[in-house]
């Protein structure tokens, strides 16, 4: 029962172009969403987040969009850089004080020079 789904296991883009990573969720009780970036042999690192009361949050080259009606969020990276090559995890937190994050399986992004 995957509550957070990242249906693309991998994505390859050219340096300088836009990277779009997608995430779908099924639990309407999720009220906060996060993106994490993970390099091999390292732990996930927090990238950007968005509350369910917003539909967009921007931080430098990274923008997260949330479409609550579609239960869909996406991470845009513009312009993409080779150093962005990593696995990106989408995560969600349930409303009501639960402390746990529910993660997707991740999307491996490769940015080619």
């Amino acid at each position: 029962d995957q509550q957070v789904k990242q249906n693309s296991p991998s994505l390859s883009v050219q340096e300088g172009r836009i990277s779009i990573l997608n995430c779908d969720y099924t639990n309407s009780m999720f009220d906060y969403f996060l993106w994490y970036k993970k390099y091999p042999a390292e732990g996930p690192t927090f990238l950007i987040s968005i509350s369910s009361i917003k539909d967009k949050n921007e931080d430098g080259r990274f923008t997260v969009f949330l479409n609550k009606s579609a239960k869909h969020l996406s991470l845009h990276i513009v312009p993409s850089q080779p150093g962005d090559s990593a696995v990106y995890f989408c995560a969600a937190k349930e409303d009501g004080g639960s402390e746990k994050l529910v993660f997707g399986k991740g999307t491996k992004l490769t940015v080619n020079p």
Partner: protein, 113 residues
């Protein structure tokens, strides 16, 4: 000056053994977690402690026992190791009063042979 540190980074052991993984955070966070990343790459929460008190226990076998001697440490002890316990275990911490993302350790790769 590592924020969340786990030891050991790699652990290879035989079935039936008992092993421990240690985690320490120097961020002053009051909540700590153990997550497991299995062979299918899902990151799933196992336990959460807030100020040494267990607040989440996600249907993990009794062979897994977390111990929090103080709010900066959360260790994981595993009894009678099984082949299926092979995974990467991540420790994480968070300041419960903040909505920002967790800080993860770099992971412990456990291989049971």
């Amino acid at each position: 000056d590592t924020a969340v540190s786990q030891t050991p980074k790699y652990l290879v052991t035989q079935m039936g053994n008992d092993k421990s993984i240690k985690c320490e955070q120097n961020l002053g966070h009051d909540t700590m977690y153990w997550y497991k990343q299995d062979s299918k790459k899902f990151l799933k929460i196992m336990f959460s402690y807030n100020n040494k008190e267990l607040i989440i226990n996600e249907t993990v076998p009794n062979r897994f026992s977390p111990k929090s001697p103080d709010k900066a440490h959360l260790n994981l002890h595993i009894n009678s190791l099984e082949l299926g316990d092979s995974a990467v275990y991540f420790c994480a911490s968070r300041d419960r009063g903040q909505m920002s993302g967790y800080t993860f350790g770099s992971g412990t790769r456990l291989t049971v042979v």
